[in-house]
C-alpha cells in the first residue's frame, strides 16, 4: 500500500518537510487532500497508507476524516456543489436558490441539508453549508471549492449544464 507515495513522492516529501521530523502526524490533513484528489474520497486503503506515512493507527486518521467536513469517507459525485445557506445568505434568498438547485438536479432538499445527496448518475453531490465568506454576494455557491457569486436560478442552470457538458467531453 504505497500507491500515493509512488505516485506523488515529491509532493509528499514537500509536505512532510513543513513539520519537524518527530511531528509527522501534522501532515495528516494535507496528505488526506492528496488521497481525496486521487480517489475522489478518503478510501480505507488511502487512510491506511496515510496512517503508515505519518506513523499513527489508521483509526486515528479515520477519526480525523470524520471530523472535517471537506473530507469524505464515502464516494461523492464527480463535482461537489456547496450552496451557502447561512443567515446572511438566507436573508438574500439562498433558501429559494437551494430549492431550485434541488429541483434542477432532482434531489431531496431534506437530504441535501443533512449531509448532502448525490445525483443517481454520480455526477454531482449537492450540499447545503454554512458561511463560505461571500455574504455580500449571495446567493452563492462553491463548485469544487471555486466561488460562484450573485447567482440567479438561470445562472445555476447554465453553470451546471456547462460543467456537465465539459466533464462529459473530458
Amino acid at each position: 500500500m504505497t500507491q500515493l507515495l509512488e505516485k506523488y513522492p515529491a509532493e509528499i516529501e514537500k509536505i512532510l518537510d513543513k513539520y519537524p521530523p518527530d511531528r509527522k502526524r501534522s501532515a495528516v490533513l494535507p496528505l488526506l487532500y492528496i488521497a481525496q484528489k486521487e480517489y475522489g474520497y478518503c478510501t480505507p486503503d488511502a487512510i491506511r497508507e496515510v496512517a503508515g506515512i505519518v506513523g499513527v493507527e489508521p483509526t486515528e486518521v479515520e477519526s480525523v476524516v470524520g471530523f472535517y467536513t471537506l473530507f469524505y469517507d464515502h464516494p461523492v459525485g464527480e463535482h461537489v456543489v456547496q450552496i451557502c445557506n447561512d443567515l446572511p445568505c438566507a436573508l438574500r434568498g439562498s433558501e429559494q436558490f437551494l430549492d431550485h438547485a434541488c429541483k434542477k438536479l432532482g434531489l431531496d432538499k431534506h437530504k441535501v441539508e443533512h449531509g448532502g445527496q448525490t445525483t443517481t448518475d454520480g455526477s454531482v453531490t449537492l450540499e447545503s453549508v454554512v458561511c463560505l465568506g461571500a455574504c455580500d454576494k449571495a446567493p452563492m455557491m462553491q463548485i469544487d471549492l471555486e466561488y460562484f457569486e450573485r447567482l440567479s436560478n438561470e445562472d445555476f442552470d447554465r453553470i451546471i449544464e456547462e460543467m456537465l457538458a465539459k466533464s462529459n467531453h473530458g
Binding site: K18, L29, F67, G133
Partner: protein, 544 residues
C-alpha cells in the same frame, strides 16, 4: 555574470503616460547606457503606483526612494546623483504622502465616499497581490527592514504596546501583551501562527486581506517572530479559501527568493520561515487551541485552558496566535509609529476596524472605519440607508458568536470598551442589519442551528445544549412554545456559558440571552398570542 545593484521603476499608468512617462523612460535608458551602467541597473515600468498626484514617478530600489513628478530633463541629474554617485537627488523627491481623512472603503465605489484612510486594507484591491515588486513599491518590507536593522525585540513589543492594538479576532486582547507573554515564555523553540480560519458567518474581511495583500501577513508574522523569538510560522487557512492559499504560497516563494524569509533575513542573524496549513472545514478550528490541534494532525477539538498557547501551544511550545486583521495592522504601526496609530479610533480602542455590512441596507460590502463609529453612521453613510426606507429593528454584530442588538443601541460607539460596557460583543466585525421583516426568534433559531452543526461534540453541555436549544426555538417558531420552554431555554443558556469547554458553547448562549434581554415582547407574542409580529415564523402548530 550580471549583478543588478539597483532597480528603477517608472510609473506607467495612463496619467503618467499622458504626462510624459515614456520620454522619462527613454531618457533613463539613454543616460544609464551613457554611463555604462546598463548591466548593473534594471529598468522597468509599473502600471500603477497607487498615487497620482506626483506622476510620472521614478522609484529606485533597494533604497525605495520615490521621485516625482519627474520631467525628461531631470533624468540626467537623477542618474548622475543617485545611480552614479549614490546620493539622493533631494530636489526631485516626491512630497511625502499626507494622511487625509479617516475613512476607508474597498470596492468599485471607492472615491464616492468620505476621504480615505486605510490601515488594514492599505493595499488590498490596489496592488497586484501576486507581485512582490508591487508590494515593495507600496512600502512593503520597509517595516521588516526597520525592525531587523534598528530595533531590538523588546523595542518592537514596546512600540506595539504603546499603539494599544487589540486582537481583531473578536476578543480584543491587547496584542502587545500577548507578544510579551510569548517572548518571556521559556522554551528553545517558539512558533507564530496566523489564524486565517475565518468562518464566522457574515465575515469575509480576512479572506480579502489574504487574497488582496498576502505579503503584509508574511511581513507581520516575520516581525512577530523576531519580537517573540520564534523560528517557524504557520498560516492556518480555511480549507474553502483556495485562492487565498494559492496566493499565500506564491507570496512565500517570492519572499524566500528575495531572502525576506529563510536563513539570515536581510543579512541579520535572524532566520524564520512560514508554511501554509490548510484546514478542512471545521468552524471550531478558529478557536486557537482547536486550531493548534488541527495543525498537529488531530481532530480540531479545543484544549482546556489554561495553560494558554502563549506558554503551551503548538507541540507544547510557546506559540503566538494572531488573527489576520490583527497582523494586517502591524507593518503600518512599525512604519508610522504608535503615536500615529493612536490618531485613529478611540483612546482605549485605537485604530480602525474592518466591518462587513450585510442585510437590509441599500449597499452591502466591506468597510474599514475608525473604532468608535456608531451603527447609525455606518448604516447612513456606507449602507446608504435602509432598504425600501424601512427602519432598523435589530442588528447582529460579530457573526454567530456575536450579539443581537436592538435599534436602541445604534448610537453606541462601536469599540471594545463601549460595546463591552453595553454588554454586547463587537466580535469579528460582521454587521447584519435587519429591518422589521426579521423575526428575532427565527434569527436565534438559525443561529442555534449553526452552533448545533458546528459543535465538535467533545463536551456534553455544548453537544446536547445547542441541539436542545434549537429544538425549543423551533417549537416557538411553530407556535407551540410554552412558558416552561422559556425557563428551560434560560437554564440551557446558563449551563452552556458555565460548563462548555470552549468559546463555541459559551457564545452559543448569547443569542438566547440577547433575545430575552432586548426582545421579550416579541418572544411573548410567539408564546402567549401565538403570533409572529414580523410575520416570518410559520406558527404551524407542529411540535418537534
Amino acid at each position: 555574470m550580471k549583478t543588478v545593484r539597483s532597480m528603477v521603476l517608472v510609473s506607467n499608468d495612463p496619467l503618467s503616460q499622458a504626462r510624459g512617462a515614456q520620454a522619462v523612460y527613454q531618457r533613463l535608458e539613454q543616460e544609464i547606457a551613457a554611463r555604462g551602467l546598463t548591466d548593473e541597473i534594471s529598468l522597468m515600468t509599473v502600471d500603477d503606483v497607487g498615487r497620482h498626484d506626483t506622476v510620472p514617478m521614478v522609484i529606485v530600489y533597494p533604497e525605495a526612494v520615490i521621485y516625482g513628478p519627474v520631467k525628461p530633463d531631470d533624468v540626467a541629474m537623477l542618474v548622475e546623483e543617485h545611480l552614479y554617485k549614490g546620493r539622493i537627488a533631494s530636489g526631485l523627491l516626491a512630497p511625502a504622502r499626507e494622511l487625509t481623512g479617516r475613512i476607508a472603503w474597498l470596492s468599485a465605489r471607492k472615491g464616492t465616499l468620505p476621504a480615505e484612510q486605510r490601515i488594514v486594507l492599505e493595499r488590498a484591491g490596489l496592488i497586484d497581490p501576486e507581485s512582490i515588486e508591487d508590494y515593495i513599491i507600496h512600502d512593503g518590507y520597509v517595516a521588516l527592514g526597520k525592525v531587523l536593522t534598528q530595533m531590538k525585540p523588546t523595542d518592537v513589543i514596546a512600540e506595539l504596546e504603546q499603539s494599544g492594538l487589540q486582537g481583531r479576532g473578536g476578543a480584543g486582547f491587547p496584542t502587545g501583551l500577548k507578544w510579551k507573554f510569548v517572548s518571556k515564555a521559556p522554551g528553545d523553540r517558539k512558533y507564530v501562527i496566523c489564524n486565517a480560519d475565518e468562518s464566522e458567518p457574515g465575515t469575509f474581511k480576512d479572506r480579502l486581506v489574504l487574497e488582496g495583500d498576502p505579503h503584509t501577513i508574511l511581513e507581520a508574522m516575520t516581525i512577530a517572530a523576531y519580537a517573540v523569538g520564534a523560528s517557524e510560522g504557520y498560516i492556518y487557512v480555511r480549507g474553502e479559501y483556495v485562492l487565498a492559499q494559492q496566493r499565500l504560497k506564491k507570496a512565500i516563494e517570492q519572499a524566500r527568493a528575495l531572502n525576506l524569509l529563510g536563513e539570515n533575513i536581510f543579512g541579520s542573524a535572524f532566520s524564520f520561515d512560514i508554511h501554509v496549513h490548510a484546514g478542512a472545514g471545521a468552524y471550531i478550528c478558529g478557536e486557537e487551541t482547536a486550531l493548534i490541534e488541527s495543525i498537529e494532525g488531530k481532530r480540531g477539538e479545543p484544549r482546556s485552558r489554561p495553560p494558554y498557547p502563549t506558554t503551551h501551544g503548538l507541540w507544547g511550545k510557546p506559540t503566538l496566535v494572531n488573527n489576520v486583521e490583527t497582523l494586517a495592522n502591524i507593518t503600518a504601526i512599525i512604519r508610522n509609529g504608535a503615536a500615529w496609530f493612536r490618531k485613529f479610533g478611540t483612546p482605549k480602542s485605537p485604530g480602525t476596524k474592518v466591518y462587513t455590512i450585510l442585510g437590509n441596507v441599500n449597499v452591502t460590502g466591506l468597510i474599514e472605519v475608525p473604532m468608535g463609529i456608531t451603527l447609525r453612521e455606518v448604516i447612513a453613510i456606507y449602507g446608504k440607508g435602509m432598504k425600501n426606507g424601512s427602519s432598523l429593528s435589530l442588528a447582529q454584530t460579530g457573526g454567530s458568536s456575536g450579539s443581537i442588538i436592538p435599534a436602541s443601541l445604534q448610537d453606541t460607539p462601536m469599540d471594545f470598551e463601549s460595546f463591552g460596557k453595553a454588554g454586547v460583543s463587537l466580535g469579528s466585525g460582521a454587521l447584519l442589519i435587519c429591518d422589521d421583516t426579521t423575526c428575532v426568534v427565527d434569527l436565534a433559531k438559525v443561529l442555534l442551528n449553526f452552533f448545533r452543526n458546528e459543535s465538535c461534540g467533545k463536551c456534553t453541555p455544548c453537544r446536547i445544549g445547542t441541539e436542545r436549544a434549537y429544538q425549543i426555538l423551533a417549537n416557538i417558531c411553530e407556535g407551540t412554545g410554552t412558558r416552561n420552554d422559556l425557563a428551560q431555554l434560560t437554564m440551557l443558556a446558563d449551563s452552556l456559558t458555565a460548563l462548555s469547554n470552549c468559546g463555541l458553547g459559551q457564545t452559543a448562549a448569547t443569542p438566547i440571552r440577547d433575545m430575552f434581554k432586548h426582545f421579550s415582547g416579541e418572544v411573548d407574542a410567539h408564546i402567549q398570542l401565538k403570533v409572529c409580529p414580523a410575520g416570518v415564523c410559520s406558527m404551524s402548530g407542529r411540535r418537534l
